[in-house]
Amino acid sequence: MQLSCSSLGRYLSTGYRARRRERRLLVLVAVIAVAGVSLSSRFSGGAWHRGLQLGGSLGIGLFCLHFFFCLAGFSGDEYLLPLCGFLCALSLTILAGLSPVTALRQLYWMLLGLALIPVAALPRQWHSLAEYRYLMGITGLSLLFFTALFGVEQWGARLWLEIGPVRFQPGEVVRLGLGVFIAGILSENSQLFAHPTAKLGPFSIPEPRHIMPLLSMWILFLFVLVVQRDLGSAILYYALFALLSYAATGQIVYLVLPALMGGLGGVLAASVFPHVATRFEIWLNPWASPRGAGYQIVQTMFALANGGWLGRGLGQGLARAIPASHTDLPLVVIGEELGFLGLLPCLTAQFLLAARGLKVSFRCGHGFLRLLGLAVVTGWSLSVFLAAGGLMRLVPLTGLVTPFVSYGGTAMVTNLFSLGLLLNISRREIWP
């Protein structure tokens, strides 16, 4: 990518029209960020100062990226960045109310992630990532095993790796690596998968050798569920694989068969391992132990109800007192402080981001990138659904984080990098 004087000249003469929609939406996002952070930190003093410091920095970061795109003549989608920016603004708003130090740290991660976006969005070589699918897959899996064996345990799940002073959650990186792996093998073999030849009763099923990936994914699912005690990631990896195979082949059997196997695996695991069963019991009846295992979900229900239609006002919620509220319950904090009418736009933004991502992925002409885009979108949507659905008791509580909103450095950087990939895919381009 060459940024020369001529491109600047081109921008100054006619380019201001470029990416106009993105610019307008980003202005709105910046205003929301400054206002949101100011309002939620107004009880701790220096509201406007903090609003400008945190919200303003996010706005400046987004605008820097935007102008960089303009200068580079980037032709990617104009809605993805503002939508993600809106979610980041919400994240800062919530964290500023919880603890300014956390919010500042989250801002650093956001800025780092935004700086990485061009690295993901501009190069035209990402399609060759498909060549490294096995490397990515093996790296992802070994990270997963490594974490399961040597990770640091926190709140009953082993999700953290500590290397010297650096502490990070490999799960997020593993998800991306796994996405590359699955997209790679599916785009390579999609023809084989698409024409099932074997029969099982009335159903056409793929030949046994093609079921091997599915079987290995199923084993992985059970491994994560049982050894790592991470129900959310287990469902996520597994559903990611099923949905991607379905999209790649168009065979409904790839949706039905994994669903049945997953259900079977879940029931088996629940009947053999008590900690898996506990998860389900809490889900079905949190009132059995409102001060023990069911504490988080019961408090969540109270917080949501106390929010009502309009909420208690930014910074006036009490959900922040629930343990792990900044990672697990940001949506509850929004629901409590801004009410149903505040939570709905947040969910809608997540939905629009996913819908937009789905659209740009579908439009992409390159088989691998298209599935990679889908992997990114599916990862986000599943996280949102499992995290928010867990809070609303639609599904068991999984401890998954909400992309762009929850506090977490690894997740923030990985998700912003993934957004860069989506932006890359969204370019109007003839792929090899």
Partner: protein
């Protein structure tokens, strides 16, 4: 390969709609149940953060207020014990009751008391450190007099300002000390005299002869009878095989309606009620608000009981003397005399004069609200004339004051639990009444000799205070 992508879009949409529906279910559908759930810690935490507003007498004296203690607040009570059932208590362990409960949202600063939109937005945007103060219409000196006048007897009294419906004093005796609710809960709730029970607002007493006011109103409003209509009173009357007798069996002979009220003739009023008929008598009782919950905030306001349907001759005769399943609260009887005293216009009873914000200059006054005319001006004046007669020459002589004409009606309500309840309802001065009251002494016996002197002391104190 378009199809799977379309299907995935549908799955995405379905997921989104499910989440939106889930949020709606918890935040709107289940809101009431969860907010009021006993283990919801939010209300409790709020009580450590927000200084609860105070409740004050109309003169500014503290009735209940929250004082700051080490990182918490203590609720202190400055009212009288007879006031406690109405004001209620505020306990972290046992919840709230009375006005503390009815006004909870204002006292905790959750609800904005005004109507201005800017004020509402400001209220939404601010985190209140303290709730709103409630200024009641209670005159604490008068309240003390009322309770002293009872001299330890059980019962209730309601004193109202005639023009506005403001409640100047409301006593339910025996009362309790709200500050001791936490420490002596078991003792309070196991007390046979049930001090937590608000006798003034929800005590159900047959009205006895005080109901004759309503019968008289129905008779006069009808126009067929007037105060000079004459009856023959042989001392007893037999209706459908049952005998209804005057107190002591006295035969008054030829007697006018006016005199009949003064001496509280059961025979005459039984005859009158039979003349008026079931429909019109019940209609008048309903117009006076009997059998209906008075429009006063709080869940401790009772509706009493008014028989419905067509009453037989015997039922009519029994109801005329305030028996036969008829049950009223002291507040309801105070409202009956208030309407008569106010030339027929009944006012909503008012316990709150104003709500005051934590800052200076924010005060929302409560306005008196008329409920409508129960009887015409002429009828009301005629009833007052008869009620004056009760005090000057009739059964209510012990309520008479020097220099001020008092009007009233006594009642001795028979009840299956024991001695009759002693009633006195009245107003003063009779020409242009300023205050009215209802006094009931539980199982006190004769209204004229037990309740009327209490009313006299209350009225005397009021006019002394007003004079000085």
């Amino acid at each position: 390969m378009r199809k799977p992508w379309v299907f995935l879009t549908y799955i995405l949409m379905a997921g989104y709609l499910l989440l939106a529906a889930g949020a709606f279910y918890w935040q709107v559908g289940q809101r009431e149940a969860l907010v009021n759930h006993p283990s919801n810690p939010y209300r409790l935490m709020e009580h450590y953060r927000v200084r609860r507003g105070g409740i004050f007498a109309s003169g500014g004296e503290v009735i209940a207020e929250s004082l700051e203690r080490e990182n918490s607040f203590e609720r202190v009570f400055g009212g009288t014990s007879g006031l406690a059932p109405t004001i209620g208590y505020f306990s972290r362990r046992y919840g709230t009751a009375g006005m503390e409960k009815a006004m909870d949202d204002l006292l905790m600063g959750r609800r904005y008391p005004g109507t201005s939109i800017i004020g509402r937005i400001r209220h939404l945007l601010s985190e209140p450190a303290s709730g709103y103060d409630v200024i009641t219409s209670i005159d604490l000196n008068l309240q003390r007099t009322v309770e002293q006048a009872f001299a330890g007897r059980k019962g209730a009294a309601v004193v109202m300002e005639v023009k506005t419906g403001r409640i100047l004093a409301i006593a339910s005796l025996p009362g309790f000390d709200p500050e001791t609710v936490d420490s002596q809960w078991d003792k309070i709730i196991s007390d046979v005299n049930s001090p937590l029970y608000n006798r003034a607002l929800a005590g159900f007493y047959p009205p006895g002869s005080t109901f004759k006011i309503v019968v008289l109103a129905a008779a006069l409003a009808d126009g067929e009878l007037d105060l000079t209509s004459t009856f023959d009173d042989p001392g007893t009357v037999t209706v459908e095989g049952h005998t209804i007798a005057n107190a002591g069996g006295t035969a008054w002979g030829p007697i006018t309606l006016l005199e009949a009220l003064a001496v509280s003739s059961n025979v005459v009023f039984a005859e009158t009620a039979r003349k008026i008929g079931s429909d019109r008598l019940l209609e008048m009782a309903r117009a006076f608000g009997l059998g209906r919950r008075p429009p006063l905030a709080g869940d401790n306001v009772g509706a009493g009981r008014l028989p419905a349907g067509v009453l037989s001759q015997l039922e009519l005769a029994q109801m005329a003397i305030g028996q036969y399943g008829l049950v009223t609260t002291p507040l309801q009887m105070a409202m009956v005399v208030q309407a008569v005293a106010n030339d027929g216009l009944m006012m909503e009873p008012m316990l709150v004069d104003a709500v005051k914000g934590p800052g200076e200059g924010s005060r929302w006054a409560n306005r008196p609200r008329p409920m409508g005319y129960v009887v015409g001006v002429q009828t009301a004046r005629q009833i007052r004339q008869a009620m004056a007669e009760v005090v000057t020459r009739g059964t209510g002589r012990s309520a008479a004051l020097r220099g001020i004409d008092v009007g009233g009606k006594t009642g001795s309500a028979e009840n299956p639990q024991g001695r009759a309840h002693a009633w006195f309802v009245g107003m003063a001065p009779v020409d242009q009444p300023a205050i009215c009251l209802a006094v009931v002494v539980e199982h006190g016996g004769s209204g004229g000799s037990v309740a009327a002197p209490i009313a006299r002391r209350i009225l005397a104190a009021y006019f002394e205070g007003a004079g000085s």
